[in-house]
Symmetry: C2
Subunit: 359 residues, 2 copies
């Protein structure tokens, strides 16, 4: 071993220590592993966001009378950073998350960061936490931008201040399943209604589904599939991902008409499916059609593309195609090959984190 | 003037200074005037709440990865403390707020404080902030209990920790109106859907209505009246209070079947209306019936009982009875007379803040 007084001769483990945080990458699931830094910017009502700060990751200080604590005035986003085999760090379509946050801010009467500020802030957060981006094939760095109503307001009203915060955590697989998800159709609770907030990534769409999700998981299901609140006839989405059904050459997914989240993965997978000759239809999909599909799969930043193995609707349980023969397998490879830099990104989806800024 | 070195002879202004905080009571609206103390208790998942602490009022520290900031996992309550002419401080039916928080916690998979702990914590908070309880007739001390999902959880799941916090603020009138409210019926947005969280005081029910409310207020309306999401035919409630219609001897209000909040004032006013010979019906009330009513009024802790002067539905604007002749005026007096200790509380609704605990 080289003497520690010789700065030019470093051991592999020392180099590794600098390059990577001390994480058991193989054991990662979808849970928080706190990283070193977070990004924070604040903006008063009527003003616009300017450059925030990279701060050590840790608890934030907030008023008990803030709109996020009292009235659920908050939005979040989720995207990932990937480490390629040739050691570049890339993020996937951050502009899409920026635009979705803007749409959400408009719906909740909040002030959103500009697209440029959003993307720059995500880059800064990843760069500051670069050693937490898992080695290729061992996971990804999940990035969580938040926009929360801060300041004080006793009555229900737009927030006097908005805080834009980004933190990150290395993650592994969202679902620990081998062949595919086991879904339960929820016929008691709905996730969203027309004229509500289902079409934006508002924090208010999530705590209301915890009960269904928790009950379903306790009965051995992987996730819940919600039906539309108006008719209970059409499928909408899961607690945190979109759904597709496949029959022959046709791939169908519910339309983004206000009650489901317009997923970035949903959009990307639709494009990839068209590229390989499938017809992709965005339209109402009834439970009946779902039960007669050949294949069903889900898409989302956390789940990527995951096959659904079974759907349970009341007492009926239907099994779908999974494994090598499934379209979802092919689409997942196409997407992750782009994300991991294994195939060329002809679509301009990947954004590289510049080394220049302080590296 | 007595010399300040004589502790037994105090001037009126010094005594007043001790008894009352320095507030211009006449100028109070429904906005935060920070008081001295707040109550805070924490409880880990699977455990139950034990006695919390009275702390100086101020910002709290919370994880960026907490369920309240990311997933809207939070409930709130609202009740008031009243100062009577003979200088007692009373709170109104705190047990009802405790029970409603428990129902909400059950719906959001949270841990709620017991009824006893809740009521005791409210009392402690009022006691600690006693000098902020306005003089009789000059306002009330609004008390805001919060139950929020704290701790860290990256995925959508029950919170690993719950924080129960109470703060308080002296308040005046919620609406600055002379004769009655001008309501606009919202036919674009709904507040709640069946199987959602409309029946509990979840924070997730409020940020989604800010846009409607803000737009209505910008057009000169006092508040929004929401219709049911299923049919858009029946009236539900306002952004933060319940609604009643009066025709002849019949007082009607929408039923608490999951999409409206079971208001404590609603329940109390129904009882008072029955006491004076009205027939009170809890049933679906259509927009048509609303437009044909003789009188319309709203109830809530913040608004107490407030007459509605006009309702605007699309291009139609209807005017209702207000003023001395209105039932709402009578019911409001009956209620506030009990709350202010002007008439005897035969119903056991008022709870006195004990002087014994440290006073
Ligand atoms: C409700 C819901 N649907 C769908 C998605 C998928 O969106 P995306 O592909 O942008 O991650 C998410 C978030 O990840 C979600 O929370
Ligand atoms: C939506 C909503 N409806 C009704 C009410 C009235 O309830 P309470 O009379 O218990 O204050 C409130 C809260 O104050 C509310 O937020």
């Amino acid at each position: 071993m080289a003497p520690s007084s010789s700065p030019t001769l470093r051991t592999t483990s020392e180099a590794d220590e600098e390059k990577y945080a001390n994480v058991k990458w193989e054991e990662l699931g979808f849970a928080l592993t706190p990283t070193d830094y977070m990004y924070v910017a604040k903006c008063r009502q009527g003003e616009s966001f300017s450059q925030g700060k990279i701060l050590p990751y840790g608890d934030i200080s907030i008023s008990p009378c803030s709109p996020i604590l009292n009235y659920g005035q908050g939005l979040f986003e989720g995207l990932k950073a990937y480490r390629t085999e040739d050691d570049r760090v890339m993020i996937f379509r951050p502009d899409q998350n920026a635009l979705r946050m803007q749409a959400g801010a408009e719906r909740l009467c909040m002030t959103s960061p500009s697209l440029e500020l959003f993307v720059d802030a995500v880059k800064q957060t990843v760069l500051a936490n670069k050693k937490w981006v898992p080695p290729p094939g061992k996971g990804t760095l999940y990035i969580r931008p938040l926009l929360i109503g801060s300041g004080d307001t006793l009555g229900v009203a737009p927030a006097p201040e908005n805080t834009f915060l980004i933190y990150a955590s290395p993650v592994g697989d969202y679902h620990k399943v081998s062949s595919g998800l086991d879904l339960k159709v929820d016929h008691k609770h709905h996730r969203a209604h027309s004229g509500g907030t289902g079409g934006v990534k508002s924090c208010t769409n999530y705590s209301p589904v915890v009960k269904s999700l928790f009950e379903a998981k306790s009965s051995g299901f992987s996730d819940i599939l919600f039906l539309d609140a108006a008719t209970s006839r059409n499928i909408e989405e899961l607690s945190a991902c979109n759904i597709f059904i496949v029959k022959g050459n046709i791939v169908s997914t519910p339309p983004t008409s206000g009650t489901i989240l317009p997923g970035v993965t949903r959009k990307s997978i639709s494009e990839l499916a068209r590229d390989i000759g499938y017809q992709v239809q965005e339209r109402d999909v009834s439970v009946d059609e779902l039960l007669e599909a050949e294949e069903v799969f889900c898409t989302g930043t956390a789940v990527v593309v995951t096959a659904v193995e079974t759907v349970t609707f009341h007492d009926k349980k239907v099994k779908y195609r999974t494994g090598e023969a499934a379209l979802s397998r092919k689409l997942r490879s196409m997407l992750t090959n782009i994300q991991m830099g294994i195939v060329e990104d002809k679509k301009g989806w990947m954004v590289e984190i510049d080394r220049c800024q302080g590296w």
